[in-house]
């Protein structure tokens, strides 16, 4: 494998990172909305959010990508491939982050809500100043863990036909007939991105376990 091939792989790596960052950034906002809806005291909204989460957790990410990809086209939106794929991953992220943050919001002791209410705080200041800052700390290990899942998940964009790291690997492997070498390198690149995040997530988890003792 020569330098041009390796540069092509790095170009794919750039797209993998770009897709992950886009999906995560969009997923943070929509995931927060999902989590707040899921923990809402208004039952129909909570049910709706629960259904949304259940659909994304109960179907393969690949199918979600296909449905979003073709569905957006049917809805008359002329999007480029990367935009459609990024929206697909963002929706996936919103459901999973929503569920993670629901758990963290519910893990904040009930007395905090009661005390804030007794002080006369309304919903938004209650969430923004009391519940969410504490929930964020609790959710950090799982959120970083999900980032690893998202990074690995972007490889499925390759099946939809988008040239990120894995598809760049397939193209090079077909070109130089050395699939083991190429996929070994591709796997190594993913590992180099995901492993530090996994270690970081584990460290956060241990630190949280110590501090909550």
């Amino acid at each position: 494998m020569g330098a041009p091939q390796f540069i092509f792989l790095l170009w794919g790596l750039g797209w993998t990172l770009g897709l992950s960052v886009m999906a995560f950034a969009l997923g943070i906002f929509s995931g927060l909305a999902v989590a707040l809806a899921r923990t809402s005291e208004w039952r129909p909204l909570a049910r709706l959010a629960a259904g949304y989460i259940a659909v994304f957790q109960g179907t393969p990410l690949l199918m979600q990508l296909f449905v979003v990809y073709y569905g957006l086209a049917l809805a008359g939106l002329a999007l480029e491939a990367w935009q459609a794929v990024a929206i697909g991953f963002a929706l996936y992220a919103s459901a999973f982050l929503g569920e993670i943050w629901r758990g963290s919001i519910e893990a904040v002791p009930r007395g905090q809500t009661d005390a804030a209410r007794a002080l006369g705080l309304h919903y938004f200041p209650l969430m923004k100043d009391v519940i969410l800052p504490q929930a964020l700390r609790i959710s950090l290990p799982a959120t970083v863990g999900f980032l690893v899942q998202l990074l690995k998940g972007t490889s499925l964009a390759a099946i939809v036909g988008f040239t990120e790291l894995t598809r760049a690997g397939s193209i090079i492997a077909n070109q130089i007939f050395e699939p083991l070498l190429v996929f070994g390198i591709v796997g190594g690149l993913y590992f180099a991105m995901c492993w530090p995040l996994s270690l970081f997530s584990g460290r956060l988890e241990r630190r949280l376990a110590v501090s909550s003792r």
């Binding site: 179907t59 073709y70 099946i159 894995t166 690997g169 699939p179 083991l180 796997g187």
Partner: protein, 222 residues
């Protein structure tokens, strides 16, 4: 919106889709069986006193859990013929699923084994059980029972992961859907229906596992 939905290819292909579901469930069940076997062996090695046995298992778990399944299945797909083993895509996918699930199973089962109190082992030995009996009856079975919920959610995750095996055209639901789609160009209808089929499968599995748990695995509360 001027698009007219046409579900005739989906309806005509429905028997094929159901056979695809069977393929998916078969792959997932086979993969899970391999995964649990790898999990149990992995935990035994992982808890060994010899670093030479412990470290390869740790490395295996980290490697599998930090790389995408798609890359793993491509690697295995090309590595097997290189090692002189010729298998059809479906069997290759089965092995890849088993290896992938195995890494997660090791971590899950390890958690269960570590939750068994050391006093239990001492008690078993004091009763005159042989080491292998202690491992099987006192450690492994209660450990598996303790991690049953995590193992079954891993099983459902593995079932959803089988759709990635369509990349090497293994026989499962997503591949079948891909064939119907490329013959009819009704992409949204086909993949929408298939998504619902996956949802039905995972929901049924969840209900079934919960039933098994409450009926046979729950410890009496009184």
């Amino acid at each position: 919106m001027s698009y007219a939905f046409d579900f005739t290819p989906v309806i005509r292909g429905f028997p094929d889709l159901l056979r695809g579901c069977a393929g998916t469930l078969g792959l997932a069940a086979g993969g899970m069986a391999i995964a649990v076997a790898i999990g149990v062996c992995g935990v035994v090695l992982r808890r060994s006193r010899a670093a030479l046995l412990r470290w390869p298992v740790i490395g295996f778990v980290e490697l599998i859990r930090n790389t995408p399944f798609l890359v793993q299945i491509y690697f295995i797909f090309f590595a097997l013929p290189f090692a002189g083993v010729r298998l059809n895509p479906t069997l290759t996918a089965l092995i890849a699923l088993g290896i992938n699930g195995g890494a997660y199973a090791i971590e899950i089962i390890r958690g269960g084994v570590e939750s068994i109190h050391k006093g239990q082992v001492d008690a078993g030995l004091a009763l005159g059980l042989r080491r292998i009996q202690v491992f099987w009856l006192v450690v492994l079975i209660p450990a598996l029972r303790a991690v049953y919920p995590s193992l079954t959610s891993q099983f459902i995750l593995l079932t959803l992961t089988t759709s990635v095996a369509s990349a090497i055209s293994a026989y499962e639901l997503t591949s079948v859907a891909g064939i119907i789609e490329s013959n009819s160009f009704r992409s949204f209808e086909v993949y929408g229906t298939v998504t619902l089929l996956y949802l039905a499968m995972s929901s049924l599995m969840m209900m079934l596992f919960r039933q098994v748990s409450t009926r046979w695995l729950a410890y009496p509360t009184k």
